[in-house]
């Protein structure tokens, strides 16, 4: 478990104090995938680097599994960092070392394992990330996705309990992003690793995270289960991220609806409810007609969800509304 208690960070730039992180409380549970989303400069990168103290906090307390990380001395900090893996947007692999040597580096630095054990561990790690045939290559000979896999293998070398991901997929194309995210989800599931990732793409959050915190101007403005935050965004920043992800212009959408008669509703289904023939049943029983104005059926991590914007006309509108509200769907009346 990672706990932030009133942690804040101020940088001193050209003689002036610039706050990067306002006093923040945060809890990341063991074994979950926790996402931090925000635009650049929102403070997410600072927050991530405070966890393994690549940045030192200006105040507050950070605990990891009960241990006060803020109080560690240099030796304690180095030992702690071996229990926290980290991967980066630009991979940060050593260009002068082969793939195998890059993965072996954290183990050699720790100096606890004999060479034979290190080699065995490197083989095992490369097999896990699917790069066993590339051990002798140099990073420059690999594609972006392969480089990030090396980064992941390297981060896992010392068998950490926590993995920090700094915009790990932002430099990758969509298909490679999907593969790397899948690998992260797999690692989280199989090794029970706690993952904290930062991103500016809602899609990344939707695919792998259990919980999410939205950051803006050095503050966490909204947090909760991904489905909750994603389907019912409260804060304007969150709404912007969700709409960006769906490539919807809210203003345009409402303009279009002006022409449509009847009540306009937005229904949100989650889990099992997504696949139930609810609309047809309600329409038949109450005599209303519906037309679908906008919609999306997709998944948040492993949970299917649907979000439909409908116009209802004719029949018993009130009865239809209460039938829908009684079912396992979230109903918002837009007009």
């Amino acid at each position: 478990m990672i706990e932030f208690q009133q942690v804040h960070k101020t940088y001193r730039v050209a003689g002036r104090d610039v706050p990067a992180l306002q006093p923040t409380d945060l809890v990341v549970e063991t074994g979950e995938v926790f996402g931090l989303i925000g635009h650049s400069g929102a403070g997410k990168s600072t927050l991530l680097r405070l966890i393994n103290r690549l940045e030192n906090p200006s105040g507050g307390r950070i605990r990891v599994d009960g241990e006060d990380v803020t109080a560690l001395d240099a030796d304690g900090l180095r030992a702690f960092r071996r229990r926290v893996g980290m991967i980066f947007q630009h991979f940060n692999l050593l260009s002068s070392r082969t793939v195998a040597d890059n993965v072996a580096l954290p183990l050699r630095l720790a100096g606890e394992l004999p060479a034979a054990d290190i080699n065995r561990r490197v083989d095992e790690l490369l097999r896990r990330v699917g790069l066993q045939d590339h051990a002798r290559k140099y990073p420059a000979q690999l594609s972006g996705g392969q480089k990030q896999r090396v980064g992941i293998a390297r981060a896992l070398a010392t068998d950490p309990k926590i993995l920090l991901c700094d915009e790990a997929t932002s430099a990758l194309d969509p298909q490679t992003t999907a593969q790397v995210l899948q690998l992260l989800a797999e690692i989280n599931r199989e090794l029970g690793l706690t993952i904290v990732l930062i991103t500016h793409e809602m899609d990344v959050i939707r695919r792998v995270c259990d919980r999410v915190a939205v950051m803006d101007a050095g503050r966490i403005v909204e947090q909760g289960a991904v489905a909750e935050v994603f389907l019912h965004p409260q804060h304007p920043t969150t709404r912007r991220f969700v709409l960006e992800d769906e490539a919807i212009d809210e203003g345009e959408l409402h303009e279009d609806f002006a022409q449509v008669p009847g009540r306009i509703l937005r229904l949100t289904f989650q889990g099992e409810a997504t696949y139930k023939p609810l609309l047809g049943t309600v329409a038949r029983e109450t005599g209303v007609d519906y037309s679908i104005l906008a919609g999306r059926i997709d998944r948040i991590k492993d949970t299917p969800y649907g979000q439909l914007t409908l116009a209802l006309t004719g029949g018993d509108l009130d009865a239809a509304l209460s039938r829908l509200q009684a079912a396992e769907v979230h109903v918002e009346v837009l007009r």
């Binding site: 180095r78 702690f80 960092r81 940060n92 002068s96 720790a110 990073p139 010392t158």
Partner: protein, 221 residues
């Protein structure tokens, strides 16, 4: 053609070449031994680096700049008493090495500092995140990553040393430069001048192409 090379004593030339190579090798060795740590220290104490230390950086920087702005010919003369204390003589190969080392170490250290700055900060951050100590960051990440740049720095320094060894001939250091001055210039033996210049030129060409090859060999980008 025979008439042109009439003044040339090939044995003399051979000895002078050997002296030049000895001066070059000896002073290059000491330049790297002193300059590499100095370059690393300059880098580490620099602004926003691992051991950011403004006063120390300012001091080192000042000393390096002073030594670099001193014309080498002046340094050669100023160094004579110190050289005598260090080597017992200010003449010959042994007498030339101290001023050569003092002349090129600051230059080499700056080149090392620049080569280290070229290393992506992300590499340092990643190595820190693995739990590396500062010494491990330098030895396992910074120096290997900067290796092509450092080899290029050694090459440039070696070539600078070739021209400095020639200048050291003025204060009796021996070598090809000494030959060129004593015979080629002072006795108007143009053929000696031509041969020594050609030999120096060949030496520089060899150093540059070996250096370039090593840089390519160690570059994995």
């Amino acid at each position: 053609m025979d008439a042109f090379f009439v003044n040339i004593d090939w044995y003399e030339i051979w000895l002078a070449t050997l002296d030049t190579l000895l001066m070059l090798g000896g002073s290059l060795l000491f330049t790297v031994v002193f300059g590499l740590p100095l370059g690393v220290l300059l880098f580490l104490t620099g602004p926003r680096q691992l051991f950011d230390n403004r006063p120390l950086y300012a001091l080192l920087s000042f000393v390096v700049n002073v030594l670099r702005s001193l014309p080498f010919i002046i340094l050669l003369i100023v160094m004579i008493p110190i050289t005598v204390v260090l080597t017992g003589t200010s003449l010959g190969v042994a007498g030339a090495i101290p001023p050569l080392v003092v002349g090129t170490t600051p230059f080499f250290a700056r080149l090392v500092e620049t080569a280290l700055r070229e290393v992506d900060r992300g590499i340092i951050e990643a190595t820190q995140a693995m739990g590396a100590s500062t010494r491990q960051i330098i030895v396992s990440a910074l120096l290997p990553e900067a290796r092509p740049g450092i080899i290029a720095a050694v090459t440039v320094t070696a070539i600078t040393l070739v021209s400095y060894t020639a200048m050291a001939g003025v204060v009796g250091a021996g070598g090809l430069g000494d030959l060129a001055i004593r015979f080629g210039y002072q006795r108007f033996q143009t053929d000696v001048m031509v041969v020594t210049v050609v030999l120096l030129l060949v030496l520089v060409q060899i150093l540059q192409s070996v250096g370039d090859r090593l840089v390519v060999h160690f570059s994995r980008k």
